[in-house]
């Protein structure tokens, strides 16, 4: 039509019509449509004609006119797929090296993918099995002083008050967990002792009404009501009582408090943060810890482990509940400078909020997922790289297929299908590998993940979609390139490297691969240096050869003193100090003090370390002013550190000497006699806190023993001898100080192991790709190498030609990886108050490593070609 541009009907609907119409009728009906349309334009204008056209098209969309679904393709696809499979398989078998590299790379990266997926879903599933879990909250505390601190516990009376004063909570439950407790079973003639590290929880009955931890035996209504009754998990029951019926049996806490078992809980699933296995009635707390159980004194402070959970009524908002909380602070803590803010933390956040002791930050899960994606991307990149390099070999096949009538679309799918074969083999291997590695991963993270690719639907979905995505990611570009060949050029053998998706694509891919692995290497180097920095820096006190030994919970101040003297007489013991904790420890006693007769508390937190006069000498603490404590069994003198002097805004340490400090709610009044040089009392994540050391004997929990390491073993067993004599029914436990300090960086160590593994894998995959690519270019250039050799170039020269090329790529990769790595690691270091300097050496090392590995990979192939006799490569034509 000549007037086409103005008078054509709406294109979209025309296309729609052509798409659905039965091909037999399409021409005729289209003719009708156009004829009528033309007529209507003349009669009533284009606009109306358009509308009527659209209506016609829509009304034509009916059975009888719509094309039958694929009625033509009655061809038997089975044979075609069998042919694809056969050709694909032959290709794999013929290019063994190429196949192995591809499959290995894909399998490795998908193994990581599967493991990371399992890890992430395991963490995301934490505590997701409780009813109405969106209404369950933990009440937590923000402590506002000069800085804000976050605690996952509350003053003990809060739960009871909240329950009786307000109707917001459908259920409110308090639970006080005491960790590392001594449990004893008294049988006829012997005493069985167990140290329960996960502890024992004083629990209100309502706890099990909020949370879905079902009771196997016992009466839901009556358990945990009476004093001195307990419910225990199946595992604990088996451990204590074997196959006997545990109901009615008795066990003892710390040899003093008997408990009768009245119920058995089903073992908890792996994905809960509740780790304790013994639950005793909350009312028993009255005799176990009167201060904590007291409904008024308890407001004075918060004890670790004292938690409160609530399930709110429907339609109660967080803001509503949090708005009534300040009244409690006003009523019970009117003067304290340590201002409490009670907040509601949703159950689903508990596992992830590190401020409140959550085990796994969401951010870490994201990082891990991204690393997993990176690894998979790297393997796909490899595949693309090798496949396009290999494409040339298959150009003839494509030519023949096209001549015989294959469409581009069919060829595309053929190559996708081949990729799918490789991918499927990779996945099967990956599943196998992942289940082999899982036990190691579990022990590394101290978890119990399971991998069951047959019953876990999420995992099945993941694996299937992983396969599909990887197939397309890896296969799409090569398939496109291959399907695009012109049959004539392909058959004449005139397809050149230029036609095969330029070399630049592959260069870019190599660069991105090496950029990823360099970022990971930089990560490893920075983490290693930071950990080493934290571990090897001078902490301001001795940590070598010092062993911390618990005092045993039935010890009295006098018995402790006696045992201390006994220990100090043992050969090999250099000195002994009775103290609360070592200078650096996770256990702390925070306090608000009053300084210099002021009636107001200071606005910062002070860590009180109760210790005797030998503390400073045992740990090698240095004085900057004043003198050491004199031995005493009451609080008479105090030592502080420089941080305290700074916080009190005194001009010099000497100014502090002689000033009076009131601490522990007025129970401790003494003057400062000495100022200690600052030492790191916590991990490098945190600032040095203001510290107060005094002879408060009630709080002594450890003997710090400095050993002569030459014969530590026999000395330790001698100490155990005297200790056990003193405490026959307790368990002797000790820990070397440097080990417990190393535990500060446990999560960093885990992270280090992870990035180490991942960077190794990524380098390995990258090298596989490089190796494949180089071996291909070398074959391509074998004639060039031959000619060069004949013209007199040495093996070194030839090597240099290749090196130059790949070294250049790695340098470009570094230009991306360097800044990225620097930025990422600086962000990571922010979590440390004391950081290692990021130095140029880190980056030099990273690029050096990748250069070395890459050059080594390249050299092997190139050397083979460079030393070959040029005649061999040149005589063939």
């Amino acid at each position: 039509m000549r007037k086409d541009s103005i008078q054509s009907p709406p294109r979209l609907f025309m296309r729609f019509f052509r798409w659905y119409c039965h091909p037999e009728m399409q021409d005729y009906i289209e003719g009708d449509l156009l004829e009528v349309y033309e007529r209507r334009i003349k009669k009533s204008g284009k606009r109306k004609a358009d509308i009527l056209f659209i209506i016609d098209v829509l009304l034509l969309f009916r059975p009888g006119i719509i094309r039958p679904a694929e009625v033509y393709i009655h061809v038997n696809n089975y044979t075609m797929f069998r042919s694809y499979f056969k050709i694909g398989w032959r290709n794999l078998a013929r290019n063994k090296a190429y196949s192995i590299i591809n499959i290995a790379g894909l399998a490795l990266s998908m193994t990581c993918g599967i493991l990371i997926f399992t890890f992430v879903t395991h963490h995301l599933s934490f505590d997701n099995f409780h009813q109405d879990s969106n209404r369950i909250y933990r009440i937590v505390t923000e402590l506002h002083r000069d800085v804000v601190a976050y605690r996952n516990c509350v003053p003990s009376p809060l739960g009871e008050s909240f329950r009786s004063d307000y109707t917001f909570g459908e259920k409110v439950a308090r639970i006080y967990t005491e960790r590392d407790v001594l449990i004893t079973l008294k049988e006829k003639d012997k005493v069985l002792k167990y140290n329960e590290t996960d502890g024992l929880a004083f629990t209100e009955k309502t706890f099990f009404e909020i949370f879905n931890f079902p009771l196997l035996k016992g009466d839901q209504r009556s358990v945990l009501v009476d004093p001195n009754t307990a419910v225990i998990t199946e595992t604990i029951a088996r451990k204590y009582f074997g196959d006997e019926d545990p109901i009615g049996k008795t066990f003892w806490l710390g040899n003093k408090f008997p408990f009768t078992v009245t119920g058995i809980l089903k073992d908890f699933p792996e994905n809960t943060d509740l780790k304790a296995g013994i639950f005793v009635s909350y009312i028993t707390l009255k005799s176990y810890d009167p201060w904590l159980a007291n409904e008024t004194d308890g407001w004075g402070g918060i004890r670790d482990g004292m938690q409160c959970y609530t399930r709110l009524q429907p339609n109660v908002s967080i803001a509503q509940v949090e708005s009534v909380m300040p009244a409690y602070v006003k009523k019970h803590r009117p003067t304290s400078k340590n201002v409490h803010h009670y907040k509601l933390q949703p159950l689903k956040d508990i596992h992830f909020d590190a401020r409140y002791g959550g085990a796994m930050e969401k951010q870490k899960l994201y990082i891990l997922s991204i690393v997993g994606l990176f690894l998979i991307a790297t393997a796909c990149v490899n595949f693309v790289n090798l496949a396009t390099a290999q494409a040339l070999k298959r150009s003839k096949e494509v030519g023949v297929r096209k001549v015989l009538g294959s469409l581009r679309r069919q060829l595309f799918w053929q190559f996708i299908f081949e990729t799918a074969i490789i991918c499927a083999i990779g996945i099967v291997m990956a599943i196998g590998l992942a289940s082999l590695i899982l036990p190691y991963a579990n022990s590394l993270f101290n978890m119990h993940m399971t991998l069951n690719p047959f019953t876990d639907y999420m995992l099945i979905y993941f694996i299937v979609s992983l396969g599909v995505v990887v197939t397309f990611l890896a296969g799409y570009y090569p398939a496109l390139v291959l399907a695009k060949f012109q049959p004539v050029t392909a058959l004449k053998g005139k397809v050149t490297q230029q036609n095969v998706g330029g070399f630049n694509v592959r260069r870019t891919l190599i660069v991105s691969q090496f950029a990823i692995s360099q970022v990971l290497i930089i990560g490893v180097i920075v983490v290693v240096s930071q950990i080493r920095f934290a571990r090897e820096s001078d902490l301001g006190f001795d940590q070598q050869a010092i062993v911390m030994i618990g005092t045993g919970n039935d010890a009295t101040p006098t018995s402790k003193e006696a045992l201390k003297n006994e220990i100090s007489r043992i050969r090999g013991v250099e000195s002994v100090s009775l103290c609360f904790t070592a200078p650096a420890s996770v256990d702390e006693w925070g306090n608000s003090i009053k300084f210099n007769n002021s009636s107001e508390e200071v606005n910062f937190r002070t860590s009180i370390k109760s210790a005797d006069a030998e503390y400073a000498s045992t740990f090698g603490l240095e004085f900057v002013a004043g003198r050491n404590l004199t031995p005493s069994d009451t609080v008479r003198e105090m030592l502080v550190n420089e941080a305290m002097v700074r916080k009190l805004e005194l001009e010099s340490p000497e100014d502090a000497i002689g000033k009076v400090i009131v601490a522990n709610g007025g129970h401790m009044v003494a003057s400062i006699v000495g100022v200690l040089k600052d030492f790191h009392d916590r991990s490098f994540h945190e600032e040095i806190s203001p510290i107060l050391i005094t002879t408060y004997t009630d709080d002594y929990e450890n003997y710090a023993v400095k050993l002569n390491l030459s014969d530590a073993k026999s000395t330790l067993s001698a100490i155990e001898g005297v200790w056990s004599q003193q405490h026959p029914d307790q368990i002797f436990g000790y820990e070397f100080l440097d080990d417990s300090i190393a535990q500060f960086y446990e999560s960093e160590e885990t992270m280090l192991k992870l990035i180490q593994t991942f960077s190794l894998i990524s380098i390995f995959i990258g090298c596989l790709g490089l190796y494949g690519l180089v071996s291909f270019t070398v074959t391509q250039k074998s004639k060039e190498i031959g000619i060069r050799k004949i013209l007199g170039s040495s093996a070194g020269n030839i090597l240099w030609i290749f090196w130059k090329e790949f070294a250049g790529l790695i340098l470009i990769a570094f230009l991306i990886a360097g800044p990225l790595g620097w930025w990422l690691m600086r962000a990571w270091l922010q979590s440390f108050k004391f950081q290692v300097e990021i130095s140029v050496w880190f980056f030099a090392l990273a690029i050096g490593c990748s250069l070395l590995v890459a050059l080594f990979t390249v050299s092997y192939q190139v050397m083979k070609a460079a030393f070959a006799n040029p005649v061999k490569s040149l005589r063939m034509e």
């Binding site: 289209e30 156009l34 006119i65």
Partner: protein, 113 residues
């Protein structure tokens, strides 16, 4: 007799094809029905009916010349087959039989009432 089944719209279409004799193609059929019966006929309904009639063997079609106003698309002319004619007659006869069977009084009453 199931053999000569004709729907109401199908009957109209096949009758119109008869009227148009050799000039019956979709648009002319549509125009004819629209002008004679003053009802609109959608393209979709018409083509479905034509296809169904052809499938039943009452119509046969052949491709005609292509014309400029149809942007080069051919016309498809329809003619009635022998079986189609039988079906038409059958339809007519059954109707008449039914008419005859209606008692005359019905119309009388209606006229009086």
């Amino acid at each position: 007799m199931k053999k000569y089944q004709l729907g109401e719209f199908e009957e109209i279409v096949i009758l119109t094809i008869g009227i148009l004799n050799n000039e019956a193609y979709s648009v002319s059929i549509k125009d004819e029905i629209e002008s004679r019966l003053s009802r609109t006929v959608s393209m979709g309904a018409l083509h479905t009916a034509l296809k169904r009639l052809e499938d039943k063997g009452y119509l046969k079609s052949y491709a005609g010349e292509s014309s400029d106003e149809r942007a080069g698309r051919p016309k498809r002319y329809f003619e009635i087959t022998a079986m189609g004619k039988k079906a038409m007659l059958h339809a007519k006869e059954t109707r008449e039989e039914l008419w005859r069977a209606i008692p005359k009084t019905i119309f009388q009453i209606n006229l009086e009432g």
